[in-house]
Amino acid sequence: MINAAILFAMVVVGSAMLFSLTRLIKGPSAPDRILALDTLYVSTIAELILFGMFLDSSLYFEIALVIAMLGFFGTVVLSKYVIRRDIVE
C-alpha cells in the first residue's frame, strides 16, 4: 500500500519534472529557464527521498542534503549573470 503510494508519488513528481522540462525548453526568457532548472532540482530532491523510502535505504540522504544545501548555487550564479553579466564583481 505504502509502496504503491510511493510509486504513485514518484510518477507525480516525475510529471512535475516533465513540466519543468517543458518550461526549460520553451523559455522564453532566461529567468524562466533558470526557474525551470531550479524546480527540476527541487523535484529531484523529492524523487531521491522517495527512492530512498522505496528502497528503505538512508544512503540517499547525503545527495538530497547536498542538493538542498547547494542546489541553489546554480540559480544564484545564473541569476547574477542575468543581472550583471559579471558573476563575481
Partner: protein
Amino acid sequence: MPLTLHILLSLPFLAAAVVAALPRTLSRGAVSWAAAAAPLAGLVLLGMMSPAVMGGEILRASLPWIPSAGLDLSLRLDGLAWMFTGLVLGIGVLIVMYAHYYLSSRDNAPRFYSFLLLFMGAMLGMVLAGNLLLLVVFWELTSISSFLLIGFWTHREDARQGARMALTVTGLGGLALLGGVLLIGRVVGSFELDAVLAAGDVIRASSWYPAILGLVLAGVFTKSAQFPFQFWLPQAMAAPTPVSAYLHSATMVKAGVFLLARLHPALAGTDLFFYVVTTVGAITLVIGAWYAIFQHDIKGLLAYSTISHLGLITMLFGLSTPMAVVAGVFHILNHATFKASLFMAAGIIDHETGTRDMRRLGNLRRFMPYTAALAIIASLAMAGVPLLNGFLSKEMFFAEALQVEAQGAMQLFVTVAAGLAGVLGVAYSLRFVHDTFFGDGPRDLDTDPHEPVRWMRVPVAVLVVMCLAVGILPALTVSGILETAVAGTLGDAAPEFSLAVWHGWNLPLAMSIIGLVGGVVLYFTLRRLFALHDAILRSWGRHLFQVNIEKLFAAAGRFTERVAAGGIRRSLFWMIVVVLVVGAVPFMGDAVGEAIGLASLPGSQPMPVLGWIIWTVLVVSSVATVAAHGRRLTALIVIGAVGLMLCAIFALLSAPDLALTQLLVEMVTIAMMMMALNYLPKQSKQSRTPFRRWRDAGISLAAGLGVFALVYGMLLRPSQTIAPELLARSLPEAYGANVVNVILVDFRGFDTFGEITVFAVAALTVHALLRWARLKPDEVMPGPPVQLPIPADLTQLLFPLTLTVSIYLFLRGHNAPGGGFIAGLAIAVPVLIKYVLQGARAVEATFGFDYLRGVGIGLLIACVGGLGSLLFGLPFLTSGHYDLELPIVGTLPLASALVFDTGVYVVVFAGALLMLSTMGTVKHRQRAAEEDY
C-alpha cells in the same frame, strides 16, 4: 702496427679540429702550415705502409663500434685504397699550399681549412673503409663537408644554390647507396668488404641483385655526376677554386668511380651491369664533352670536361674487361693530375685577371707565360695528346671500346661514343687554350694581368711535371702504382699489362689521330658556324632540377599550409572519422546484429517509469543543448539539466558517490562557464555553410549510433569482473564499508593520487593563464556593482553549516557516500557563493587563505599519507588501521587512508577556489587600451 691506419685516418679530423680552433687573427701562413701538416704526416705514414701494399699485402685494422649491427671501424688498405689515399693526400698537400695564396684576407682561413681537412678526412675514410656501412658513413660525410666547401662564400647566391644542389643530389645518392649496401648485407650476411668482395657470385645470383645494382649505381652516378645527375657539378663551381680543384679532380667526384672500382668484383659481370653502366657512361661522356665546348666560364668548361672524363671512366668500368678496369683506374689517376693542375691554373687566371669568362680573356700567354705554358701542357694531356699521360689512358680506352663484345647496336654505340669523345675532348681543350692564351687580348679587365707569386705556380708545376713524366716514361713512373691499384681492385683477376707510349700503328692510335684532327677541325668549324662567344647552351638538367625543386618547395608549402590551416575542426573531423572506421571495421563482413550477438544474449532488465522520465529529460535537454548552442546562456541552463539528470541516473543506478560528485562538479562547472561567458560573445555566429552542418550532423549521428551499438552490445553480455573480490575484501582488509571510497583511497589510491595532481595542475594552469592577463568583458553593465545584501546575509548561516556537512562527508566517507573529494567541493561551493554575492575582493580581503600554497600543501599531505607505509616496509599507499582508545570518548577508529584523503580534501578545496577566484578576479582591460587595437 694495426692502428696506423686509424691514426692515418684520424689525422685530418684532428687537424680540422685544431685549425677550427685557431683564432682568425692568426696569420694565414701559420694556419696553412697547420693544415698542411696533416696530409704531409699522412703521406709519411702511407709511405711507411707502401712496401707492404705494393707487395700485394692487404693491411687491415679494426676497432669495434657497433658489432651487433655489423658496423665496425674496420679499415682496409689494399692497392686501390692505397692509390686513392696517395691521391687524396698528395693533391691535398698541393691544394693547401695553393689555397694559402689563393685565399684573400677577407676569407676566414681557419674555417676554410677546417672544412677542407674535414672533407679530406671523409674522403680518406671512404677509401680506407673496410666495411661497406663505414664506407657509406664517410660517403655521406664527404657530401656534407663538400656542401660546406662549395657554399664557402656564403654571400654568393650561386654558391648557396650550388651547395644545396650538390648536397641534394649527392644526398639522394648517399641514401640510395645506403639502401643498396643494406641489401648487399642482407644477401651476404656481412658488411665487411672482404666478405662482400668474396661473395660476388652470391650477390649476382640473388633476387635482390637488380635492386642492389640500381641503388648502388644511383649512388655512384650522383656522386660522379653521371647522366642524368650531371648538372650539379658545374653548379658546384661557385666554390673557391682550390675546392673545385680538389673536389673535381681527385676526390669528391672520384668517390663514385672509386666505389664502382671497389665493388667491381662484387657487382660487375652481368649484362645488366654492362648495359646500364656502359650506356650511362657513354652518354655522360658525350654530353659532358659537348657542353664543355660551349662554356664561357673556364671553370664551367673544366667542370663539363670533368663530367665527360668521369663518363669515360664509368664506361670503362662498365665494359668490365680486366683491361678496361686497368684503363679506368689509370685514367682516374691521370685525370686527377691534369684536372687538378688545370683548375689551379684557372684559379690563377681568375685571381690575377679578376674574371674567368673566356669572352673577356685572351692572349694571356703574353702576360703570364709560365702559367700559360703549364696550363697548355695540362690541356694537351686532357685532350689526349701523345707523350702526356692523358694519351695513354685514352688509348687504352679506345682499345677496350673497340673490343667490346656485345650486340651490334651496342658495339656501334660504344665505338661511336668513344670516337665522339675523342673529337669533342680535343675541341674543348682547344677552346680553353685558344680562347684564354691566344687570340685577341683581354677585354675590359679591372686589373692588369700578371704572373702570380711563384709559390702559387709550384703546385701546378708539380702536377704538370707528373703529367709529362707519366706520359713519357710510364713504365718507370706509374706502372708499379697502377699494378698495385689494379691488384687491389680486381684481386686475383688482375691482368698482366705493360704500359708503353708506343704500341705500334693500330686502331686505337688511328682513333686518337682522328680525334685530334677531328677535334681541331670541329673547334674551328664551330667557331665559324656558331660564334662560340655568343652561344649559350643551358643545362636543361639543372634547369629541370631547379624548376622541380622550386615546385617541390611550393607544393610542399601549399600542402603544409592547407594542412596547418585546417585547424581544430579538421583535426577533430579526422579523428572522428578514424574512430568510426576503426569501430565499424570489426563488424564488417558479418551481419551486424549477429556480430553484436543480440539474439543469443540474455534479455535486458525492465525499466521503471521514473527511469523513463529521467531518460526523457536527459535526452530532450541534450538535444535542446544542441539546438540552443547559438544562444549560450540558454545552452548553459539546459546543459545544467543534463548534468542533473546524470546525477539522478547515478543515484538511481546505485552510485550515490557518483551522484554527489557529479552534482558538485556540475555546479562548479556552471559557475566557471558563466565567468567565462562574461568574456566571450553571448552568441555563437552560425556557420553559413549548410553542407558542413549536414556533414557534421551525419557524422555525429553515426558516432552516436556507433557508441550506442557498442554499449548495448557490451551491456547485454555477462560481466566477468574482479568486483566480488573487491567487495569481499573491502571491509576486513581496508576497513571501509563504502567500497567506492575504499577503492579510491586504497585499492586504487594511486589513481586518486594522479587525479588530484591533475586537479592541482589545472588550477595552476588557470592561475598562470589569468594571473597577469587583462581581459575585456563582452558587455559591461553600467553603474556600480550591484549590492545583493539579502542573499548575502542569508548565506551567513549557510557557510558554517555546509562546512559542518563537509566535515561530516569527509569523515564518513569511508563508510557512507562522501570522501575527500566530495567534501572538498562541498566546502568550496559555499565560499564561491560568497564570492558571487559579496564580490571577490570583499571576500579575499577577509578570508586570507592562500589557495596556491594550499594546493601544494595538499599534494604534500597526500604524499606523506602514502609514504607513511614505507616506514613499515610496506608499499606506497598501504593503509594501516589503528583503534585509538581514549578515556572518555571510547574507541576512535583511525585509518591511515584518512591522511591521504585529507590531502585530497585540501587539494580539491584549494584547487577549486584557486581556479574560481582567479577567474573571478580577472583584471579588466582598460578602455584606452582597447582603442589601440
